[in-house]
Amino acid sequence: MVLKVFFPSCCSSAESGILIGRWISEQNSAVILAVVHFPFIPVQVKQYLSEVQRVTKVSVSVLGSWSNSKQEKEKSLSEFLEDLGTIFSHEPWIQISRQGDSKFWSCSTLQKHSNNPKEEEIILVYYDQRKVMLSHLHPPLATDPKADDASKLSAIFDTVAKSKILFMTDRYDDGPIKLTHWQSDGVEASIIVELMKQASVPACLLLTFLLSLISGICRSRVLKFWPLSFLWSKLSICEQLGHRLQHLQVISSNKKAQNQTQLMRKANIFVSLLIDVALGVLLMSWLYRKNRIGHLADTLIPMADHVAEELQDLLQWLMGAPAGLKMNRALDQVLGRFFLYHIHLWISYIHLMSPFIEMILWYVGLSACLGLTVALCILSDIIALLTFHIYCFYVYGARLYCLKIYGLSSLWRLFRGKKWNVLRQRVDSCSYDLDQLFIGTLLFTILLFLLPTTALYYLVFTLLRLLVVIVQGLIHLLVDLIDSLPLYSVILRLCRSYRLAAGVKFRVLEQQDGKPLRLLMQINPLSYGSVVQTYRLPTYSCYPRDSWTSLCKKLFLGELIYPWKHKGEKQD
């Protein structure tokens, strides 16, 4: 079978020595991790390797010899290297040698206990050690994550990633072993990262303390009384604040992230919060400059007045002959006057509040510094409050219509001599008395002829309500987008694309006859779509709650619709 040797490209110019790494026998491949230079004592090398093996659980061993001679090949050196093969017994013993600055190396194996002495082909694959160590391989989503025959590539990535401790000793250490690997010129570290790590511990403690205080207040009994709890459940801002509080708890927890997914999740939440607060502060500074809040408050009351006037015109139109349809005069007048009085009450209420609007808006606008999502939720709640009368009208119209439809269907059954059997959940025939039939038919006729009027009011107010719901829905969509977008992963994919690997790609380098095949292994980064799909943060809303057919059915029957429900609330 073909022998594959994975050689780190940083060791190409290393001095002569022996190769250490891992031998994967099922795939007949050798992953070379470092080169140990002369002089060394074999016993110490073996000791060191067994220690490394104990810590990293990777079976590191001496795989072969590496000779990098600037002059012509020295006979004695080659014999010396072959003798090393007897000291460190490894089957097969790989010998790689490089002459001067030549690109083409010669690679041979020494098999002592082999049955077939034929020459097997050798493939030399160069890899970038630092990138392979830092990268995280994402298996394709379709495969079973616990497939037993793990792919060859993940074995290689694992080997390099787990051997971190091997890369900690560099050339300047005074130990008995002198290694060459990607960090042999000195261990890399960033001072900013170290400082942040030191500063993060007390910051996390402080944050945890504050959060426990806040959640204690939130859970106190004072806020659980009926009107307040109902209010909190209806306002979307409370939901969003609770969600963000949860996020903060995740970040400030003391436990270190166990695996890659948790680490990315924490980082994504952190960056998302940061960007959110930055955008919120930006919005706030824009709003408070040039007293825009004052202008907003000034236009709010006339806008509410305008909406109310439009509604009044609409009702006057309905009370007349809307679109040429002839309404039942008495019912029309009753419904129209009722709704008009309601609007009149609403307008007086708004006018009562108008001197305080500016101050309320000013203080409420300050909470935009908690984040852009919070500001958007406040906007959605303000819209909901301002159009509360539309919601009320919709509920009145829907209930009236629903009552009418149920009455009609039940009396229609009576008209035909049938009855709904609640026990058996089906329609059964039934013999009614004459007076029952008489009253029933009378009521049925009345309800039937009053149907167009009620239906028209219901239709108009449902359309208005749907309009408001669509506007609120769009705002919530935007909030969800900001909440769930994994910004840190996207930026990582942009700047350090080798960290998120979908696989590898091979490039064939220059070949020379008689020398082994040379390939370069590079990391194939994940596509942006897969990055977003793998790392998106979960949100608290689920849509669509109803399918289109059930929505239409509910509208037809007059049942109340709540298209944007949250995950925590119980179903209707």
Partner: protein, 186 residues
């Protein structure tokens, strides 16, 4: 070496075979290049339409937006749609690598490991009123040794005809057979 063939729609394509070593082969199919006359035809059509709109509406924004749209459209076409070359790199005992290079230089690569590859076959497909042949890689189902979990079609935008596909198929099978004859490791 390079040989000329025809694609399924009649356009001329070229197949280049290179043997890097006994167990490594590269097969590249080069698609027909972007024609200058089709490019100029589309551009002049768009600009004529924009000029007609400009004469009707007297708004110079129409002209500048037409130029903008043409440029952006050309860039998107070259970077995301027009494939210049599709190649197959078969490395015995490592895997099969499928690369598509776009006209703007972008390359999109997929590497399939040899343990996942069940076989490389030529399949027939009925497309509208034609029957076309395409080469595809069958992936092994990890649970079922006889089953196929996925079919990966190759050379989808150059669509070579059967004669070209047979050449590619023979080259691939020579390398795939090696893994059947030597599975015993020492």
């Amino acid at each position: 070496e390079e040989r000329r063939y025809r694609s399924a729609s009649g356009a001329p394509i070229a197949l280049r075979r290179r043997q890097h070593s006994a167990s490594c082969r590269e097969l590249a199919v080069r698609c027909p290049r972007l024609q200058l006359r089709s490019l100029s035809a589309v551009t002049s059509a768009v600009w004529l339409a924009a000029y007609g709109l400009f004469v009707l509406s007297e708004n110079s924004m129409v002209l500048s937006s037409a130029i903008f749209i043409t440029l952006i459209g050309l860039i998107i076409y070259l970077h995301f749609v027009k494939i210049d070359q599709e190649s197959l790199l078969v490395i015995g005992s490592l895997g099969i690598q499928v690369t598509s290079s776009y006209a703007s230089g972008k390359e999109s690569t997929t590497f399939i490991e040899m343990s996942q590859v069940k076989d490389v076959v030529i399949n027939e497909a009925i497309h509208m009123q034609k029957v076309i042949y395409y080469l595809c890689i069958l992936l092994q189902d990890p649970g079922d040794p006889q089953g196929v979990s996925e079919v990966v079609p190759l050379f989808q935008s150059s669509k070579p005809r059967l004669d070209c596909l047979i050449e590619v198929y023979k080259s691939c099978q020579e390398i795939l057979e090696q893994r059947k004859t030597a599975p015993q490791s020492s």
